[in-house]
């Protein structure tokens, strides 16, 4: 019993001394949001991206990536990744809005630069958003924004869960295999109209012809023609075509 008490006291003393004497790697600086962002970053991001945002093997550096990229990856839940060096698919964000803003404030205060979060405005009249989508987006994302493969295991994801801001950010930063579309390719006014069109693709479903069969076009139609159409008719002739 005495031995146990001595060991416990020794452990407590050593632990307290260790906690006091271990230096903090970088002291939090600046306004409160930056400090909070710093703590969150060191806790959840630095193990891969580095305490100095330098990145590591297979992990990109975050120096000067800009607010748009940070907001896009954090608010779509793609980061922090559950598997190191492998981006997660679109899902619920792991931080709340205030925390995301704090991380953005911290990262951009240490290494400024990069595209800012696009500020969306009501689009001016006369912008043909559909034409912008047809020319730039649907080759990979499909006519419904339903997504498609783009090769080497990459997928152009479906656009049905993204917010207007997230779509605008993706256009400006070009995440993953996606090309980056700067203001020279897609001016702000066209971007404003485009994001509304894309969100409209999944909010205004328009299928006057009946069941849309998964929206994958003639592949699904072929299955229906064979299985439902010809299948029913062959079943019928087996019934009426054979005389007992």
């Amino acid at each position: 019993m005495r031995v146990a008490l001595v060991v416990l006291a020794a452990l407590l003393t050593a632990g307290a001394a260790y906690a006091q004497l271990t230096p903090r790697l970088v002291a939090p600086l600046g306004p409160a949001s930056v400090q909070e962002g710093h703590i969150l970053f060191d806790d959840r991001c630095a193990s891969c991206h580095g305490v100095d945002l330098q990145g590591s093997a297979g992990v990109p550096s975050l120096r000067g990536v800009g607010a748009a990229a940070l907001d896009f990856f954090l608010s779509t839940g793609r980061m922090p990744a559950s598997v190191p060096s492998l981006e997660s698919p679109h899902g619920p964000p792991q931080f709340d809005r205030k925390q995301i803003d704090a991380i953005i404030a911290y990262v951009t205060s240490r290494y400024p630069g990069g595209p800012p979060i696009p500020r969306l405005a009501p689009p001016p009249p006369g912008v043909d958003a559909r034409q912008v989508f047809e020319l730039n987006c649907e080759a990979c994302h499909g006519v419904y924004g339903q997504g498609a493969v783009v090769g080497y295991g990459w997928v152009a994801p479906p656009l049905n869960a993204a917010t207007q801001t997230e779509i605008a950010e993706a256009v400006r930063i070009g995440p993953g295999m996606m090309p980056r579309f700067g203001p020279d390719e897609i001016p702000d006014a066209k971007l404003d109209a485009l994001v509304r069109y894309v969100v409209g693709l999944h909010t205004n479903t328009y299928d006057p012809g009946g069941w849309e069969i998964g929206r994958i076009g003639p592949v699904a139609e072929g299955f229906v023609a064979w299985l439902v159409g010809l299948g029913t008719l062959v079943g019928l002739i087996r019934y009426i075509g054979t005389n007992e």
Partner: protein, 466 residues
């Protein structure tokens, strides 16, 4: 009785009684597989009926106009008149979308029915002399149906079908020496040309339908003249056809089938959306979307292009593009073998006899093996044509699928063809073993001592047909 009075009325004027007496008594074999071709024929009737409706409402001109209509995302866009009128049929005309969707579904089921009918004819040996002629007419109908389907779904001038037409024009361009001349003749210049819409309409509505109606007439007339084949069975010989007479039994079956085909096509048109051209948008050469497939019966050609190696040949300043081999030579060779099959089989088997009775598929193992191999070759190509869709849903890199299919396009026909050949041989061997002792049954009888024993009782053989 209405039919009786009608026949008498016509007989008074046209003296049709001898023909009708013969025709109404014509025997149709009692096996369901003989109605597969009828499904195709009735699909074609639905196609003609809905096609007349669409043809009257459709404006095939390639001029452009500004779209104003109920589909607001396209409002204010400059589109072709053909596309605008296909949209108007779909979204503004009462019942227009139903008829358009029925027409499209009927085309998809039409070609499927022809394919299954051709399989039945192939695997039972119905194509043999003297029906080798009609087999070739049938292959011609299949080819014409493919052309009619492709030209038909390209008419609305939407993005998806325009992409398909662009591929077809590229295939024409890939023909050595004459490609660019042919493009100029067919398209009327370099692709795309506004006058091509009108040409395509003529090709689809007049040229191909005239040829198909003619070919179907020939097909049915030859069938009528040569009479049906039939499976072997009691009382069935090379000189007769056992079955139901046309009137009244078979006629009612056939009318029931006609109504069922119309009902199934109408249900498909009413409940299943097909080819939503408003979503695809009008065709502009710079625009393409993914996933992009043709209708199923062209999918194997798309697959051949996707799986074909990128081997362009440069000879004496001329280039034979890579797509020439999988896109043109391969389908021509495939159809060439189909046309020639009755003669190939005759050459190999040295069988010059006339055949009125059918084989069961297993009875000719080599034919079964070859047919299964040819079908699995097509199936792999068809899978290749939809590789991006499978890659998406199965989360497999599309490149892995392509290399797998490239191997499978050779291995699957060999493996499946061999398997079918072995199975057929096995079945044939077992059946003929059983047939060596006709009429012999084992029975358990009580003997004189009061015990039981098994004896073989020989009964007189049943009356053998053929």
């Amino acid at each position: 009785m209405i039919v009786r009075r009608l026949v008498l009325w016509l007989d008074d004027r046209l003296a049709i009684a001898p023909f009708m007496r013969h025709a109404l008594r014509k025997a149709f074999p009692d096996h369901w597989s003989f109605m597969l071709g009828e499904i195709a024929a009735y699909c074609y009737m639905v196609l003609l009926a809905t096609g007349i409706f669409l043809g009257l409402a459709f404006d095939p001109s390639g001029t452009t106009k500004v779209y104003h209509g109920p589909y607001t995302p396209l409002d204010g866009q400059v589109v072709s008149s053909a596309y605008a009128s296909a949209l108007a049929i779909s979204l503004e005309m009462r019942g227009g979308l139903l008829i358009r969707q029925m027409h499209h579904w009927a085309a998809n089921v039409f070609v499927a029915a022809i394919a299954v009918h051709a399989m039945r004819v192939f695997f039972t040996g119905a194509f043999r002399k003297p029906r080798d002629v009609n087999w070739m007419v049938g292959v011609t109908i299949l080819l014409l149906a493919l052309a009619a389907g492709f030209s038909g779904y390209s008419l609305p001038d939407d993005m998806l079908s325009g992409t398909g037409l662009r591929i077809a024009v590229s295939l024409i361009l890939s023909i050595p020496f004459v490609g660019s001349w042919l493009e100029a003749i067919i398209v009327g210049g370099q692709w795309p040309q506004p006058q091509f819409s009108g040409r395509l309409f003529f090709i689809h509505v007049f040229l191909l339908q005239g040829l198909i109606v003619g070919a179907i007439t020939a097909h049915v007339s030859i069938l009528w003249h040569q009479k049906h084949t039939q499976f072997r069975g009691p009382g069935r010989t090379a000189k007769n056809v056992v079955g139901s007479p046309l009137w009244p039994q078979y006629a009612f079956k056939s009318i029931a089938l006609m109504l069922a085909v119309a009902a199934v096509i109408a249900a498909l048109g009413a409940y299943f959306e097909i080819n939503p051209i408003w979503q695809y948008g009008d065709y502009q050469p710079a625009i393409v979307a993914s996933p992009a497939q043709p209708d199923w019966y062209v999918g194997w050609l798309d697959g051949a292009l996707r799986l074909g190696p990128a081997l362009a040949i440069h000879l004496w300043g001329h280039t034979i593009p890579a797509i020439f081999w999988p896109g043109l030579v391969l389908p021509l060779a495939y159809f060439g073998v189909m046309y020639a099959w009755p003669f190939i089989e005759r050459r190999v088997t040295k069988d010059e006899r006339r055949h009125e009775l059918l084989d069961h598929p297993y009875e000719v193992p080599v034919r079964v093996g070859f047919g299964v191999a040819a079908l699995s070759f097509l199936a792999v190509l068809e899978l290749g044509g939809s590789d991006d869709v499978l890659a998406r849903f199965a989360r497999i890199p599309v490149e892995s699928l392509v290399s797998t299919y490239r191997a499978a396009v050779f291995l699957a026909p060999l493996a499946l063809g061999w398997l079918a050949y072995r199975l057929a041989r096995e079945m044939k061997a077992r059946r003929s073993e059983g047939e060596e002792l006709p009429g012999t049954v084992t029975a358990v009888v009580r003997n004189e001592q009061g015990g039981y024993e098994a004896v073989e009782v020989v009964t007189p053989p049943a009356a053998e047909g053929a």
